[in-house]
Amino acid sequence: MQADRRRVNAPPGGTTPPVFATPSNTPIARPVRSRQPDEHRKIFLRTGFVPSASGSAYYEIPPETTSQSKTLLIPSSSSLKITCTVHGPRPLPRNAAFSPNLLLSTHVKFAPFATRSRKGYVRDSSERDLGMHLESALRGVVIGERWPKSGCEVVITVLEGEEDGWWGDAQGAEKSGGWGMMGVLAGCITVASAALMDAGIDCVDMVSGGVAALASDERGNGTRIVLDPSPSEHDIKAACVVGYLQSRDEITEMWMKGNAGVQTEALIDEAVKAAVMTRSVLGEAVKESVELKANHTDRNVKEKGSANDVTMTG
Protein backbone atom coordinates (compact mmCIF):
# COMPACT_ATOMS: atom_id res chain seq x y z
CA MET A 1 0.00 0.00 0.00
CA GLN A 2 1.17 3.50 -0.81
CA ALA A 3 2.29 5.36 2.30
CA ASP A 4 0.49 8.60 3.08
CA ARG A 5 3.00 11.25 2.04
CA ARG A 6 1.27 14.13 3.78
CA ARG A 7 1.86 12.77 7.27
CA VAL A 8 4.63 11.51 9.47
CA ASN A 9 4.18 7.78 9.17
CA ALA A 10 5.12 5.09 11.61
CA PRO A 11 7.98 2.74 10.67
CA PRO A 12 6.75 0.26 8.05
CA GLY A 13 7.51 -2.81 10.14
CA GLY A 14 5.36 -1.74 13.05
CA THR A 15 6.45 -1.06 16.58
CA THR A 16 6.33 -3.07 19.72
CA PRO A 17 4.51 -1.38 22.55
CA PRO A 18 6.31 -1.32 25.89
CA VAL A 19 5.36 -4.17 28.19
CA PHE A 20 5.36 -3.31 31.85
CA ALA A 21 6.42 -6.35 33.75
CA THR A 22 4.29 -7.41 36.66
CA PRO A 23 5.39 -9.77 39.38
CA SER A 24 4.67 -13.28 38.25
CA ASN A 25 2.42 -13.90 41.22
CA THR A 26 0.12 -10.99 40.33
CA PRO A 27 -3.25 -12.46 39.49
CA ILE A 28 -4.66 -10.92 36.34
CA ALA A 29 -8.35 -11.48 36.74
CA ARG A 30 -11.07 -10.46 34.39
CA PRO A 31 -12.99 -7.47 35.78
CA VAL A 32 -16.45 -8.26 37.06
CA ARG A 33 -19.49 -6.05 36.89
CA SER A 34 -19.90 -4.43 40.27
CA ARG A 35 -23.10 -2.55 39.48
CA GLN A 36 -26.59 -3.94 39.17
CA PRO A 37 -27.74 -5.36 35.81
CA ASP A 38 -30.11 -2.39 35.40
CA GLU A 39 -27.61 0.22 36.55
CA HIS A 40 -25.88 2.58 34.14
CA ARG A 41 -22.33 3.81 34.60
CA LYS A 42 -21.99 7.44 35.55
CA ILE A 43 -21.91 9.90 32.68
CA PHE A 44 -20.21 13.27 32.43
CA LEU A 45 -21.70 15.54 29.77
CA ARG A 46 -21.00 19.18 29.08
CA THR A 47 -21.84 21.46 26.17
CA GLY A 48 -20.17 24.48 24.66
CA PHE A 49 -16.51 23.65 25.15
CA VAL A 50 -15.42 24.60 21.60
CA PRO A 51 -15.96 28.36 21.25
CA SER A 52 -15.35 28.46 17.50
CA ALA A 53 -18.06 25.92 16.66
CA SER A 54 -21.75 26.75 16.71
CA GLY A 55 -22.38 23.84 19.04
CA SER A 56 -20.24 21.33 20.87
CA ALA A 57 -20.38 18.74 23.62
CA TYR A 58 -18.10 16.40 25.53
CA TYR A 59 -19.22 13.02 26.83
CA GLU A 60 -17.34 10.78 29.16
CA ILE A 61 -17.92 7.58 31.04
CA PRO A 62 -15.08 7.75 33.57
CA PRO A 63 -13.05 4.61 34.17
CA GLU A 64 -14.06 2.69 37.25
CA THR A 65 -11.45 2.44 39.92
CA THR A 66 -11.31 -1.07 41.25
CA SER A 67 -8.85 -2.64 43.63
CA GLN A 68 -7.19 -4.38 40.73
CA SER A 69 -6.48 -1.20 38.81
CA LYS A 70 -4.24 -0.11 41.67
CA THR A 71 -1.89 -3.04 41.24
CA LEU A 72 -1.73 -2.80 37.46
CA LEU A 73 -0.82 0.18 35.34
CA ILE A 74 -3.22 -0.86 32.61
CA PRO A 75 -6.87 -0.19 33.46
CA SER A 76 -8.78 -3.42 33.51
CA SER A 77 -11.79 -2.09 31.67
CA SER A 78 -12.11 0.59 29.04
CA SER A 79 -13.97 3.85 29.35
CA LEU A 80 -15.49 6.19 26.83
CA LYS A 81 -14.50 9.75 25.87
CA ILE A 82 -16.27 11.40 22.94
CA THR A 83 -16.22 14.97 21.66
CA CYS A 84 -18.70 16.38 19.20
CA THR A 85 -18.77 19.67 17.30
CA VAL A 86 -21.67 20.95 15.21
CA HIS A 87 -20.98 23.43 12.40
CA GLY A 88 -24.04 25.10 11.06
CA PRO A 89 -26.52 26.02 9.88
CA ARG A 90 -24.13 27.38 7.29
CA PRO A 91 -24.34 28.10 3.57
CA LEU A 92 -24.01 25.21 1.19
CA PRO A 93 -20.82 24.97 -0.85
CA ARG A 94 -20.79 26.81 -4.18
CA ASN A 95 -21.25 23.73 -6.34
CA ALA A 96 -24.12 22.23 -4.33
CA ALA A 97 -27.63 22.18 -5.74
CA PHE A 98 -30.49 24.08 -4.11
CA SER A 99 -32.01 22.27 -1.15
CA PRO A 100 -35.19 23.39 0.64
CA ASN A 101 -34.15 21.37 3.70
CA LEU A 102 -31.20 21.25 6.03
CA LEU A 103 -28.46 18.99 4.66
CA LEU A 104 -27.21 16.99 7.61
CA SER A 105 -23.86 15.23 7.41
CA THR A 106 -22.10 13.24 10.09
CA HIS A 107 -18.48 12.28 10.48
CA VAL A 108 -17.27 9.85 13.12
CA LYS A 109 -13.54 9.41 13.61
CA PHE A 110 -11.60 7.47 16.18
CA ALA A 111 -8.40 9.04 17.41
CA PRO A 112 -5.42 6.82 16.48
CA PHE A 113 -4.94 6.06 20.18
CA ALA A 114 -8.61 5.52 20.99
CA THR A 115 -8.53 1.75 21.21
CA ARG A 116 -5.88 -0.89 21.79
CA SER A 117 -5.84 -1.71 18.11
CA ARG A 118 -4.71 1.53 16.46
CA LYS A 119 -6.83 3.36 13.93
CA GLY A 120 -5.53 5.04 10.80
CA TYR A 121 -5.88 8.69 9.91
CA VAL A 122 -8.37 7.97 7.17
CA ARG A 123 -11.85 6.86 8.20
CA ASP A 124 -12.24 3.12 7.81
CA SER A 125 -15.42 1.18 7.07
CA SER A 126 -16.43 0.77 10.72
CA GLU A 127 -16.17 4.52 11.31
CA ARG A 128 -18.20 5.28 8.20
CA ASP A 129 -20.75 2.73 9.39
CA LEU A 130 -21.04 4.48 12.74
CA GLY A 131 -21.50 7.76 10.88
CA MET A 132 -24.40 6.30 8.89
CA HIS A 133 -26.09 4.96 12.03
CA LEU A 134 -25.67 8.32 13.74
CA GLU A 135 -27.04 10.18 10.75
CA SER A 136 -30.22 8.10 10.69
CA ALA A 137 -30.61 8.61 14.44
CA LEU A 138 -30.37 12.40 14.05
CA ARG A 139 -32.32 12.68 10.80
CA GLY A 140 -35.49 11.62 12.57
CA VAL A 141 -35.19 14.34 15.18
CA VAL A 142 -34.01 17.46 13.32
CA ILE A 143 -36.73 19.67 11.79
CA GLY A 144 -35.00 20.09 8.43
CA GLU A 145 -37.56 22.25 6.62
CA ARG A 146 -36.85 25.20 8.89
CA TRP A 147 -33.38 25.57 7.40
CA PRO A 148 -33.60 26.14 3.64
CA LYS A 149 -30.41 26.13 1.55
CA SER A 150 -28.12 25.47 4.46
CA GLY A 151 -26.07 22.59 5.71
CA CYS A 152 -25.08 21.24 9.08
CA GLU A 153 -22.08 19.12 9.85
CA VAL A 154 -21.80 16.92 12.93
CA VAL A 155 -18.20 15.94 13.59
CA ILE A 156 -17.42 13.38 16.27
CA THR A 157 -13.99 12.45 17.55
CA VAL A 158 -13.77 9.42 19.77
CA LEU A 159 -10.84 10.05 22.10
CA GLU A 160 -11.22 6.78 23.94
CA GLY A 161 -13.38 3.97 22.66
CA GLU A 162 -14.83 0.93 24.29
CA GLU A 163 -12.85 -2.26 23.70
CA ASP A 164 -14.41 -5.25 22.02
CA GLY A 165 -13.33 -7.61 24.76
CA TRP A 166 -10.97 -8.02 27.68
CA TRP A 167 -7.33 -7.36 26.88
CA GLY A 168 -6.08 -10.13 29.19
CA ASP A 169 -8.04 -12.64 27.20
CA ALA A 170 -5.68 -13.43 24.34
CA GLN A 171 -8.46 -14.16 21.89
CA GLY A 172 -10.69 -11.52 23.40
CA ALA A 173 -8.57 -8.74 22.05
CA GLU A 174 -8.29 -10.40 18.68
CA LYS A 175 -11.71 -11.78 17.94
CA SER A 176 -13.40 -8.36 18.05
CA GLY A 177 -17.07 -9.12 17.97
CA GLY A 178 -17.58 -5.40 17.52
CA TRP A 179 -19.30 -5.06 20.87
CA GLY A 180 -17.34 -1.94 21.72
CA MET A 181 -18.87 -0.18 18.72
CA MET A 182 -22.33 -0.51 20.24
CA GLY A 183 -21.42 1.46 23.34
CA VAL A 184 -19.61 4.04 21.21
CA LEU A 185 -22.69 4.54 19.02
CA ALA A 186 -24.95 5.07 22.03
CA GLY A 187 -22.50 7.69 23.34
CA CYS A 188 -22.26 9.30 19.88
CA ILE A 189 -26.05 9.71 19.67
CA THR A 190 -26.25 11.33 23.10
CA VAL A 191 -23.31 13.68 22.58
CA ALA A 192 -24.47 14.71 19.09
CA SER A 193 -27.90 15.48 20.50
CA ALA A 194 -26.38 17.71 23.18
CA ALA A 195 -24.25 19.51 20.60
CA LEU A 196 -27.27 20.08 18.32
CA MET A 197 -29.15 21.62 21.25
CA ASP A 198 -26.14 23.82 21.95
CA ALA A 199 -26.10 24.97 18.32
CA GLY A 200 -29.80 25.86 18.64
CA ILE A 201 -31.00 23.69 15.76
CA ASP A 202 -34.72 22.88 15.91
CA CYS A 203 -35.45 19.32 16.97
CA VAL A 204 -38.72 17.57 17.73
CA ASP A 205 -37.20 16.04 20.85
CA MET A 206 -33.89 15.23 22.48
CA VAL A 207 -32.67 11.90 21.13
CA SER A 208 -30.63 9.82 23.54
CA GLY A 209 -28.71 6.64 22.97
CA GLY A 210 -28.95 3.50 25.08
CA VAL A 211 -27.34 0.09 24.85
CA ALA A 212 -28.23 -3.25 26.40
CA ALA A 213 -26.72 -6.71 25.95
CA LEU A 214 -27.58 -10.31 26.44
CA ALA A 215 -24.62 -11.76 28.31
CA SER A 216 -23.90 -15.10 29.92
CA ASP A 217 -24.55 -15.00 33.64
CA GLU A 218 -21.32 -15.34 35.62
CA ARG A 219 -23.04 -16.99 38.57
CA GLY A 220 -25.17 -19.48 36.71
CA ASN A 221 -25.03 -21.02 33.30
CA GLY A 222 -27.93 -19.11 31.74
CA THR A 223 -27.99 -15.65 30.23
CA ARG A 224 -29.14 -12.31 31.53
CA ILE A 225 -29.81 -8.89 30.06
CA VAL A 226 -27.59 -6.08 31.28
CA LEU A 227 -27.80 -2.34 30.66
CA ASP A 228 -24.77 -0.40 29.47
CA PRO A 229 -22.45 -3.42 29.16
CA SER A 230 -18.72 -2.98 29.37
CA PRO A 231 -17.43 -5.63 26.94
CA SER A 232 -14.47 -6.44 29.15
CA GLU A 233 -16.76 -7.49 31.98
CA HIS A 234 -19.20 -9.63 30.04
CA ASP A 235 -19.31 -12.51 27.64
CA ILE A 236 -21.78 -10.88 25.27
CA LYS A 237 -24.10 -12.95 23.09
CA ALA A 238 -26.15 -10.16 21.55
CA ALA A 239 -26.38 -6.40 21.94
CA CYS A 240 -28.79 -3.68 20.90
CA VAL A 241 -28.40 0.11 20.56
CA VAL A 242 -31.35 2.45 20.21
CA GLY A 243 -31.76 6.15 19.58
CA TYR A 244 -34.89 6.94 21.52
CA LEU A 245 -37.20 9.96 21.76
CA GLN A 246 -38.73 9.81 25.20
CA SER A 247 -41.48 12.40 24.93
CA ARG A 248 -42.80 10.86 21.69
CA ASP A 249 -41.98 7.25 22.57
CA GLU A 250 -40.31 6.78 19.19
CA ILE A 251 -37.15 5.00 18.11
CA THR A 252 -35.18 6.73 15.35
CA GLU A 253 -32.35 4.23 15.17
CA MET A 254 -31.88 0.64 16.21
CA TRP A 255 -28.84 -1.53 15.70
CA MET A 256 -28.78 -5.11 16.87
CA LYS A 257 -25.92 -7.56 16.70
CA GLY A 258 -25.75 -11.23 17.60
CA ASN A 259 -28.61 -13.63 18.12
CA ALA A 260 -30.92 -12.84 21.01
CA GLY A 261 -33.53 -15.43 20.05
CA VAL A 262 -36.77 -15.11 21.97
CA GLN A 263 -35.32 -12.36 24.13
CA THR A 264 -35.06 -9.89 21.27
CA GLU A 265 -37.95 -7.74 22.42
CA ALA A 266 -36.80 -7.75 26.04
CA LEU A 267 -33.38 -6.66 24.83
CA ILE A 268 -34.85 -3.71 22.92
CA ASP A 269 -36.92 -2.72 25.96
CA GLU A 270 -33.81 -2.71 28.14
CA ALA A 271 -31.91 -0.61 25.59
CA VAL A 272 -34.78 1.89 25.65
CA LYS A 273 -34.55 1.91 29.45
CA ALA A 274 -30.85 2.76 29.18
CA ALA A 275 -31.69 5.57 26.74
CA VAL A 276 -34.20 7.00 29.23
CA MET A 277 -31.47 7.05 31.89
CA THR A 278 -29.06 8.82 29.53
CA ARG A 279 -31.72 11.36 28.67
CA SER A 280 -31.93 12.56 32.28
CA VAL A 281 -28.24 13.48 32.11
CA LEU A 282 -28.69 15.03 28.66
CA GLY A 283 -31.61 17.15 29.87
CA GLU A 284 -29.66 18.46 32.86
CA ALA A 285 -26.60 19.27 30.77
CA VAL A 286 -28.63 21.17 28.15
CA LYS A 287 -30.59 23.02 30.83
CA GLU A 288 -27.34 24.01 32.49
CA SER A 289 -25.93 25.42 29.26
CA VAL A 290 -29.13 27.38 28.53
CA GLU A 291 -29.10 28.90 32.02
CA LEU A 292 -25.46 29.82 31.58
CA LYS A 293 -26.07 31.47 28.20
CA ALA A 294 -29.24 33.25 29.35
CA ASN A 295 -27.37 34.73 32.29
CA HIS A 296 -24.48 35.56 29.99
CA THR A 297 -26.63 37.64 27.65
CA ASP A 298 -28.78 39.13 30.43
CA ARG A 299 -26.13 40.41 32.77
CA ASN A 300 -23.18 40.20 30.41
CA VAL A 301 -21.37 37.95 32.83
CA LYS A 302 -17.85 37.45 31.62
CA GLU A 303 -16.77 34.49 33.67
CA LYS A 304 -18.07 31.47 31.86
CA GLY A 305 -15.92 29.01 33.74
CA SER A 306 -17.39 30.02 37.07
CA ALA A 307 -20.35 27.71 36.53
CA ASN A 308 -20.42 24.54 38.51
CA ASP A 309 -19.33 21.35 36.82
CA VAL A 310 -22.04 18.78 36.54
CA THR A 311 -21.57 15.13 37.20
CA MET A 312 -24.73 13.14 37.32
CA THR A 313 -25.83 9.60 37.65
CA GLY A 314 -27.67 8.00 34.81
Binding site: M206, R248, E291
Partner: protein, 197 residues
Protein backbone atom coordinates in the same frame (compact mmCIF):
# COMPACT_ATOMS: atom_id res chain seq x y z
CA UNK B 1 -34.66 26.09 37.80
CA UNK B 2 -33.24 29.15 39.49
CA UNK B 3 -33.70 31.85 36.85
CA UNK B 4 -36.79 34.02 36.81
CA UNK B 5 -37.55 33.15 33.16
CA UNK B 6 -38.84 29.60 32.70
CA UNK B 7 -36.66 27.39 30.52
CA UNK B 8 -37.83 24.89 28.00
CA UNK B 9 -36.14 21.90 26.36
CA UNK B 10 -36.93 20.25 23.01
CA UNK B 11 -39.76 17.74 23.27
CA UNK B 12 -41.32 19.49 26.25
CA UNK B 13 -45.10 19.91 26.07
CA UNK B 14 -46.10 23.58 26.24
CA UNK B 15 -49.87 23.05 26.26
CA UNK B 16 -52.73 22.09 23.97
CA UNK B 17 -53.01 23.87 20.62
CA UNK B 18 -56.55 24.93 21.51
CA UNK B 19 -55.18 27.23 24.23
CA UNK B 20 -51.87 28.32 22.67
CA UNK B 21 -50.89 29.77 19.30
CA UNK B 22 -47.71 28.54 17.68
CA UNK B 23 -44.70 30.86 17.91
CA UNK B 24 -41.03 30.60 16.99
CA UNK B 25 -39.07 27.69 18.37
CA UNK B 26 -42.12 25.48 18.77
CA UNK B 27 -43.93 22.84 16.73
CA UNK B 28 -47.22 20.98 16.81
CA UNK B 29 -47.47 17.21 17.18
CA UNK B 30 -50.96 15.81 17.46
CA UNK B 31 -53.00 18.24 19.53
CA UNK B 32 -50.13 19.48 21.67
CA UNK B 33 -47.67 22.31 21.22
CA UNK B 34 -44.08 21.21 21.80
CA UNK B 35 -40.86 23.12 22.24
CA UNK B 36 -38.27 22.51 19.52
CA UNK B 37 -35.24 24.44 20.82
CA UNK B 38 -33.61 24.77 24.21
CA UNK B 39 -34.19 28.27 25.47
CA UNK B 40 -36.37 30.63 27.44
CA UNK B 41 -40.14 30.39 27.30
CA UNK B 42 -42.18 33.47 26.38
CA UNK B 43 -45.90 33.97 26.08
CA UNK B 44 -47.24 37.08 24.36
CA UNK B 45 -50.94 37.90 24.63
CA UNK B 46 -52.95 38.05 21.45
CA UNK B 47 -53.28 41.44 19.74
CA UNK B 48 -55.74 40.46 17.01
CA UNK B 49 -59.38 39.57 17.37
CA UNK B 50 -59.24 36.54 15.08
CA UNK B 51 -56.70 34.68 17.21
CA UNK B 52 -57.64 34.66 20.88
CA UNK B 53 -54.88 32.45 22.28
CA UNK B 54 -51.55 33.82 23.50
CA UNK B 55 -48.58 33.09 21.24
CA UNK B 56 -46.11 30.78 22.92
CA UNK B 57 -42.52 30.94 21.70
CA UNK B 58 -39.16 29.61 22.83
CA UNK B 59 -36.17 31.88 22.26
CA UNK B 60 -32.62 30.71 21.94
CA UNK B 61 -30.36 32.28 24.54
CA UNK B 62 -28.00 33.76 21.93
CA UNK B 63 -29.49 37.27 21.72
CA UNK B 64 -30.53 37.50 18.07
CA UNK B 65 -33.26 34.88 18.16
CA UNK B 66 -32.52 33.44 14.73
CA UNK B 67 -29.62 31.50 13.29
CA UNK B 68 -30.44 32.13 9.63
CA UNK B 69 -31.22 35.42 7.87
CA UNK B 70 -34.97 35.85 7.41
CA UNK B 71 -36.95 38.55 5.63
CA UNK B 72 -36.73 41.68 7.79
CA UNK B 73 -33.60 40.62 9.68
CA UNK B 74 -30.99 43.37 10.03
CA UNK B 75 -27.56 41.94 9.24
CA UNK B 76 -23.94 43.02 9.13
CA UNK B 77 -21.84 41.98 6.15
CA UNK B 78 -18.62 42.64 4.30
CA UNK B 79 -18.57 43.67 0.63
CA UNK B 80 -16.74 41.03 -1.41
CA UNK B 81 -17.07 42.44 -4.93
CA UNK B 82 -18.94 45.14 -6.82
CA UNK B 83 -20.09 45.64 -10.38
CA UNK B 84 -22.24 48.39 -11.96
CA UNK B 85 -25.49 46.56 -11.26
CA UNK B 86 -24.98 45.08 -7.80
CA UNK B 87 -22.67 44.60 -4.85
CA UNK B 88 -21.91 41.14 -3.47
CA UNK B 89 -21.33 40.65 0.21
CA UNK B 90 -21.07 37.92 2.79
CA UNK B 91 -23.22 38.10 5.90
CA UNK B 92 -21.03 37.98 9.00
CA UNK B 93 -23.52 38.58 11.81
CA UNK B 94 -27.25 38.84 12.43
CA UNK B 95 -28.87 41.67 14.37
CA UNK B 96 -28.29 45.44 14.17
CA UNK B 97 -25.46 45.19 16.70
CA UNK B 98 -24.28 41.80 15.44
CA UNK B 99 -25.95 39.88 18.27
CA UNK B 100 -25.45 36.51 16.62
CA UNK B 101 -22.12 35.97 14.90
CA UNK B 102 -22.23 33.46 12.05
CA UNK B 103 -19.38 31.31 13.24
CA UNK B 104 -17.60 28.62 11.27
CA UNK B 105 -17.05 29.45 7.71
CA UNK B 106 -17.30 32.14 5.14
CA UNK B 107 -20.69 33.68 5.90
CA UNK B 108 -23.89 33.59 3.88
CA UNK B 109 -23.58 35.04 0.36
CA UNK B 110 -25.84 38.03 -0.38
CA UNK B 111 -26.46 40.69 -3.02
CA UNK B 112 -27.46 44.38 -2.84
CA UNK B 113 -28.91 45.40 -6.19
CA UNK B 114 -28.37 48.92 -7.53
CA UNK B 115 -32.05 49.87 -7.03
CA UNK B 116 -31.97 48.71 -3.40
CA UNK B 117 -29.05 50.87 -2.29
CA UNK B 118 -30.99 53.98 -1.32
CA UNK B 119 -34.60 55.08 -1.08
CA UNK B 120 -34.60 58.18 -3.31
CA UNK B 121 -33.40 58.82 -6.88
CA UNK B 122 -32.76 55.14 -7.30
CA UNK B 123 -32.02 55.48 -11.00
CA UNK B 124 -29.07 57.80 -10.32
CA UNK B 125 -27.30 55.46 -7.88
CA UNK B 126 -23.75 54.45 -8.77
CA UNK B 127 -22.65 51.28 -7.02
CA UNK B 128 -18.97 52.28 -7.06
CA UNK B 129 -19.83 55.51 -5.18
CA UNK B 130 -21.81 53.60 -2.58
CA UNK B 131 -19.71 50.58 -1.62
CA UNK B 132 -16.11 49.48 -1.93
CA UNK B 133 -14.74 45.99 -1.38
CA UNK B 134 -14.01 45.45 2.31
CA UNK B 135 -16.65 47.86 3.66
CA UNK B 136 -18.74 46.66 6.59
CA UNK B 137 -22.40 47.25 5.78
CA UNK B 138 -25.56 47.16 7.85
CA UNK B 139 -28.50 46.05 5.69
CA UNK B 140 -31.92 44.44 5.92
CA UNK B 141 -32.94 41.18 4.25
CA UNK B 142 -35.69 41.77 1.66
CA UNK B 143 -35.76 38.31 0.09
CA UNK B 144 -34.32 34.87 0.67
CA UNK B 145 -33.25 35.16 -2.96
CA UNK B 146 -32.24 32.47 -5.39
CA UNK B 147 -30.48 29.21 -4.60
CA UNK B 148 -27.27 31.08 -3.90
CA UNK B 149 -27.66 34.60 -2.48
CA UNK B 150 -29.89 36.48 -0.09
CA UNK B 151 -31.17 39.85 -1.34
CA UNK B 152 -30.45 42.80 0.94
CA UNK B 153 -31.40 46.46 0.92
CA UNK B 154 -29.83 49.59 2.43
CA UNK B 155 -32.73 51.90 1.48
CA UNK B 156 -33.09 53.46 4.94
CA UNK B 157 -31.19 56.18 6.77
CA UNK B 158 -29.78 53.89 9.43
CA UNK B 159 -28.60 51.32 6.86
CA UNK B 160 -25.43 51.51 4.78
CA UNK B 161 -21.68 51.47 5.34
CA UNK B 162 -20.76 51.49 9.02
CA UNK B 163 -17.02 50.88 8.74
CA UNK B 164 -14.66 51.62 5.89
CA UNK B 165 -10.99 52.11 5.16
CA UNK B 166 -9.69 54.65 2.65
CA UNK B 167 -7.63 53.87 -0.43
CA UNK B 168 -4.56 54.76 1.64
CA UNK B 169 -5.58 52.07 4.11
CA UNK B 170 -6.56 54.34 7.01
CA UNK B 171 -9.74 54.06 9.04
CA UNK B 172 -12.39 56.59 8.03
CA UNK B 173 -15.24 58.30 9.83
CA UNK B 174 -18.58 59.43 8.39
CA UNK B 175 -18.93 63.16 7.69
CA UNK B 176 -22.24 63.27 5.81
CA UNK B 177 -24.94 60.93 4.50
CA UNK B 178 -22.83 60.25 1.42
CA UNK B 179 -19.21 60.78 2.45
CA UNK B 180 -16.55 59.24 4.66
CA UNK B 181 -13.36 61.10 5.57
CA UNK B 182 -9.89 59.63 5.99
CA UNK B 183 -8.74 60.17 9.56
CA UNK B 184 -5.10 60.82 8.55
CA UNK B 185 -5.03 62.53 5.16
CA UNK B 186 -8.45 64.15 5.32
CA UNK B 187 -9.40 62.87 1.86
CA UNK B 188 -13.11 62.26 1.33
CA UNK B 189 -14.63 59.19 -0.34
CA UNK B 190 -18.21 58.63 -1.46
CA UNK B 191 -20.25 55.93 0.31
CA UNK B 192 -23.85 55.15 1.18
CA UNK B 193 -23.31 56.03 4.84
CA UNK B 194 -25.39 54.51 7.62
CA UNK B 195 -26.80 57.06 10.06
CA UNK B 196 -25.08 56.39 13.41
CA UNK B 197 -27.54 54.84 15.85
Amino acid sequence: MSGPIPLSLPGQILGPTSANAIGSGTHIHGTQLYSSVAGTLHSTPSTTKTVKQPTVSVQRPNGAGTLLPEVGTVVLGRITRTNPRQANLSILALGAQGEHVCRDGQGFPAIIRQQDIRATEIDKVVVAQSFRVGDIVRAVVISLGDERSYYLSTAKNELGVVMAVSEAGNAMFPVSWKEFQDGVSGAREARKVAKPV
